[in-house]
């Protein structure tokens, strides 16, 4: 069951629902009584600018789920590429889905600057990404998700990591009516390195779900994960992080952290960090905290002349900033910083 299969078959019963353990906080079935009609092709000339404009002219656009050029982003052996991948939903009350493969050959490097850009209302959007990395390949994926407040949006990425390869990801989102950004990684160990970071800044009645599943299958693999979020209004943030270390995947080093700020009485955060360890010799840890802004720190900042809403924004920005600072690509880091700053107002 998935949004993709529901869109393909037209059967609402295919939608994930809250009776499934992995979807209990992101009930798509409950949010959609019927599947809306298929989205129109959209107007390619009216796509407008994206959040990573100026960082690369290499752009792959999916407009209402339709690829405007290639459906495979390939990087040849030992080559380097910086590409923008834009998922644009330029429609209202309709549904669409798209799929892309990203193939990064041995020793190749890819910086993927990905954006979800809602240009309509109440659309249903599905994106599927399949990453394949060759030995020693390196990928940095930076995602800025900006969906409409009443949209339903799901993105599912699968990553096949290789020995000595590196996959580093930062997903930042402002949520939607129901939104899930999921990443599933098959980790072979063998000196492979994985970083899976996330951040959510959600207000109003928005919802954002960052779900990750990492399967460590071989000796000597590393995973580090940091997700930070702030929820205001009646928003709901969801973090599900599962790391499974298979029998024999010794010397795995996996660290997961999720930390959230609740900025209003009606906001909610649901978190489920899980470590399933079947190997003997591993270093695994997870930390999870949910709290409010520090009142003493707020008073300290205000006592220096900063109005309360600005003081709150400053502390919130600093809180989420830790995730942004870990982005390696400088231009993407600046774009992410600007994105965070532009979303603080919605939380005030």
């Amino acid at each position: 069951m998935s949004l993709a299969s529901a869109l393909a078959t037209g059967d609402v019963a295919e939608l994930p629902n809250r009776r499934q353990e992995d979807w209990r906080w992101t009930d798509l079935r409950g949010a959609l009584r019927a599947l809306p009609p298929a989205s129109p092709a959209g107007e390619a000339a009216a796509i407008g600018s994206g959040p990573f404009d100026g960082l690369t002219s290499d752009q792959i656009v999916f407009l209402n789920g339709r690829a405007q050029s290639e459906t495979v982003i390939a990087v040849a052996e030992a080559a380097a590429r910086t590409a923008a991948l834009r998922w644009v939903s330029q429609t209202s009350n309709t549904a669409h889905g798209g799929k892309v493969r990203i193939v990064v050959a041995a020793g190749a490097r890819l910086v993927l600057l990905e954006s979800y850009e809602g240009r309509g209302e109440a659309y249903v959007a599905d994106a599927v990404l399949e990453f394949e990395l060759g030995e020693g390949a390196s990928v940095e994926r930076v995602v800025l998700a900006e969906d409409a407040a009443d949209a339903i949006s799901v993105s599912t990425a699968t990553v096949a990591l290789a020995p000595h390869a590196r996959f580093a990801q930062t997903v930042l989102t402002s949520g939607a009516k129901r939104q899930r950004l999921e990443t599933q990684v098959s980790h072979p160990g063998g000196g492979g390195e994985l970083r899976l970071d996330g951040g959510y800044l959600i207000g109003g009645a928005r919802h954002a779900d960052l779900t990750t599943v990492v399967a460590h299958q071989g000796l000597d693999g590393r995973t580090e994960q940091l997700t930070k979020g702030a929820v205001a209004g009646a928003a709901r943030g969801v973090f599900q992080g599962r790391i499974v270390v298979a029998e024999g995947a010794d010397h795995t080093d996996a660290r997961m952290g999720h930390h959230a700020l609740i900025l209003s009485d009606r906001a909610e955060v649901d978190a489920k960090p899980e470590l399933e360890i079947y190997a003997d010799d591993v270093a695994c840890a997870h930390g999870n905290t949910v709290g409010a802004l520090d009142e003493d720190a707020l008073f300290y900042i205000r006592s220096r002349g900063v109005p309360e809403h600005e003081a709150r924004a400053l502390l919130t920005q600093a809180f989420v900033g830790e995730v942004v600072d870990r982005i390696e690509h400088e231009g993407a880091r600046d774009a992410a910083r600007a994105w965070v700053a532009s979303h603080l107002e919605a939380l005030a």
């Binding site: 520090d294 009142e295 003493d296 720190a297 008073f299 300290y300 900042i301 205000r302 006592s303 220096r304 002349g305 900063v306 109005p307 309360e308 600005e310 003081a311 400053l314 502390l315 920005q317 600093a318 809180f319 900033g321 830790e322």
Partner: protein
Amino acid sequence: MSMLSVNNLHVRVGEAEIIRGLSLAVPAGEVHAIMGPNGAGKSTLSYTLAGRGGYEVTGGSATLNGEDLLALEPNERAAKGLFLSFQYPLEIPGVPGLTFIRTALNAQRKARGEAEISAPEFLKLARAEAAKLKIDFDMLKRPLNVGFSGGEKKRMEIFQMAMLSPHFLILDETDSGLDIDALKIVAEGVNALRGPDRAMLVITHYQRLLDYIRPDMVHVLAGGRIVASGGPELALELEAEGYDRFVKAAA
């Protein structure tokens, strides 16, 4: 006219009345010290004047240059020129010291209807003031107070004070946690800010700080009220005799 004027102030924290009819006047150009035993209400007075939540004023008044301080938000008090140097400065993870101070300075300027300070002008000022206080400039690029020693935090308070250039300074136990060298540097920083347009309230438990920051007046706070006032010699008396007779007098 006094710059700071506190008249018959009563303050509750929770169920307990901590300040019980405190009156105090500090004219422009003067430095007044408040000394008192633990639990006398010293920190309550400084937090109440700065506007911290949870301090309920049940009677009396406090004015700065004739304006009702107690009606203002903490940030508005700062923009009017009030500055509290904290006994325990907070750590602000993720916010570099320079960013913090520039945000504060520009917020104050905006509140007063003044133009923002330009980046080069700000940096020039910051470099000059940091050098005076022997603060390594790279330290200002680190998150404010995070991982700083007690002495470094107090120096950062004085640095902020110098950058924000307030009219009325409250130093709450600025000497606590300082060794003698740090104390001298901090005192020099404070003394550099003395002037005819400024006034200060130096709150301390020990006389030692007053060897370096010479007060015009010393007040003894006990049981939530000023129970004695005098010249600098009063601090020496307290050092020699202790607070006992004042605590008894206040009871």
